[in-house]
């Protein structure tokens, strides 16, 4: 009888993994949460922070506020203006003071109002950047969070592997198809799912930026996003092969925690590393070439226009080679531990050639 070829078997496994995950509520909740979160992060600051500061103006002081980005309310007397300030109806009151004006505020100088009233000297940036530091920190958070979320999502591979070991269906599977096809199918299935989600997010991001009125940022975000996707996908394959091994080493869901630690570090490390060091160009540069942190660090550098395209390609190449090496190692560990039941399998035992 015809048996399933390696690629057919891999695809069947991948298909089942995807269908299983599609059938779980957690998957959809997690994804919806990410999309909503992304919109919130981009749109909300504009919604809440966008209004002009409210001021009360008395008499001749009104000339000083003309043409400024202030929400002006003219009142008859200084007393009336102070009452409005005390009632917190306005941020500040602008009243005549001799020939000039005076600003009344409750308990701290109203910086947003003062900024409007003073004449700023002209500024020339020697190294102009299209992105502000605020936009950069948002990007670091978004890239970091997306990487973290999908990296942790790979834990589903560990869970599915343990389920197979725990229910012992693994014996039927192993007597039917090569172990490598099982591993490849799991990684493929989850990678496709992740890619699908990333594509949806990548399509949603420009919409979110437009809604937030940050359309001009699009030109900067798009290339960085374009680089982020291949980094994210290769990074995901790297991490998911580690998740698969973490699952294969134990025999019960309850024991999974004991093997997941290292993988969690590999996922969380880049996130925290980039959060802490993104303002240190030297560290960020190193991290952008280290396979585990490159997935976040390099796109952030590209976004900040600190890295050239060849650097990204080199880093991607390093990552790709690492993926191949880790896949080979994982495949051996997976094969060596899949049929071992009972206590947690030691890495050295999983690595040892089959007896």
């Amino acid at each position: 009888m015809a048996r399933a070829s390696f690629s057919q078997a891999t695809w069947l496994v991948a298909e089942r993994e995807m269908k299983t995950l599609f059938g779980t509520k957690g998957f959809w909740i997690g994804f919806a949460f990410t999309v909503v979160g992304l919109f919130a992060l981009t749109v909300l600051p504009t919604v809440f922070g966008g209004d002009d500061p409210k001021v009360a103006v008395v008499g001749s002081a009104s000339q000083a506020v003309q043409g400024k980005a202030l929400d002006v309310r003219e009142v008859g007397s200084v007393q009336e203006a102070s009452d409005l300030v005390r009632a917190d109806d306005v941020e500040a009151a602008i009243v005549p003071d001799g020939a000039g004006i005076k600003v009344l505020a409750l308990n701290s100088p109203p910086n947003s109002v003062i900024r409007e009233l003073v004449e700023s000297p002209p500024v020339e940036l020697l190294e102009a950047s299209a992105v502000t530091s605020g936009q950069r920190s948002v990007t670091v958070i978004v890239f970091g969070l997306v990487f973290l979320m999908f990296g942790m999502g790979g834990a589903a591979i560990a869970q599915s592997t343990v389920t197979e070991k725990q229910t012992r269906i693994v014996e039927i599977l192993v007597s039917t198809v090569p172990v490598r096809a099982l591993l490849a199918g799991k990684i493929l299935g989850h990678t496709i799912l992740t890619l699908g989600q990333v594509v949806v997010l990548a399509l949603a991001a420009p919409i979110a930026l437009r809604v937030a009125g940050l359309g001009e940022l699009l030109g900067v975000v798009a290339p960085a996003l374009g680089w982020f996707i291949p980094f994210l996908m290769l990074g995901f394959v790297l991490i998911s092969s580690m998740w698969a091994v973490a699952g294969a080493l134990v025999s019960r869901q309850e024991d999974l925690g004991s093997t997941m630690g290292l993988v969690m570090i590999a996922v969380m490390g880049p996130y925290f590393g980039v959060q802490f060091f993104y303002e240190n160009p030297a560290v960020l540069k190193v991290m952008s070439f280290v396979p585990f942190t490159a997935g976040v660090a390099m796109p952030v550098r590209l976004f900040a226009e600190q890295a050239k395209a060849w650097e990204a390609i080199l880093s991607l190449g390093i990552l790709a080679v690492t993926v191949v090496v880790i896949l080979l190692v994982a495949s051996r560990l997976y094969t060596g531990s899949l049929l071992q039941t009972g206590a947690r399998v030691k890495l050295s035992k999983a690595w040892a050639p089959a007896e």
Partner: protein, 289 residues
Amino acid sequence: MLTVRGISRSFGDHKVLDEVSFDVRPGRMTGFLGANGSGKTTTMRIVLGVLAAHGGSVSWQGTEVRPDNRPDFGYMPEERGLYPKMKVRDQITWLARLHGVDRETAQRNTDELLEDLELTGRAGDRLEELSLGNQQRVQIAAALVHDPDVLILDEPFSGLDPIAVETVLDVLRKRAANGVPVLFSSHQLAIVERLCDDVVIISKGRIAANGSREELRARHAGERYEIVVAEDAGWVRDVPGVTILDLDGPRAVFEAEPQQVLRAALDRGEVRSFTPVVPTLDEIFKEVI
């Protein structure tokens, strides 16, 4: 024919299998008997290629089995396993496709099997929603759905009620009748006695007895007979060369040259029955292990 020759296997210093050899012939149900820990499951895993042997070989149709030319096995592991959250029909169809069956055939085979195993009504349920007995039937379906070349079933009847045993038996007999060799282990000797054509008995990793059921019985029967006459059978003990094993009114069980006892009995009057005593599998099992 599936041929197992000289298979050995150790776990650490513990030798679990020692030169195990037997055949599983096409179209026959071969019962694989042994106490717990005697090496049944290890043998089956080696046959399937899930576990490596430390010596010996497994051949299918005269060619040694390697990973690339394994026959298509239908396997039911001792520790039952299927995906608890997957629907019954989806699961069986998926397993068939994993064995290389195309989608349409897989679905047709699945529906037929579920019908035969009286599970059609549960086809859309998740496995975990079924009773243990019904899960067991699904497990049988999983082993059969791809029309395997060889069936290897580890304790297929444990956990089944008598009616389910009959249903499963019918399904398995149908396969055997089509020429598929069936190897199944069981500790329910009565079932094996009724069902199997050939018997392999394993004890402490060695084959203790091996052959067709009739052969085994004949081999272990000895010169033992039972006679039932109309009157008291007490005279039998006086026939020269007779050893009485059991005497109870008109019935006697003895070991001797049978014809002279029969002749003597006919001289005395009516003989109601005269039969060789065939040992049950249970007796043979206890004798050889």
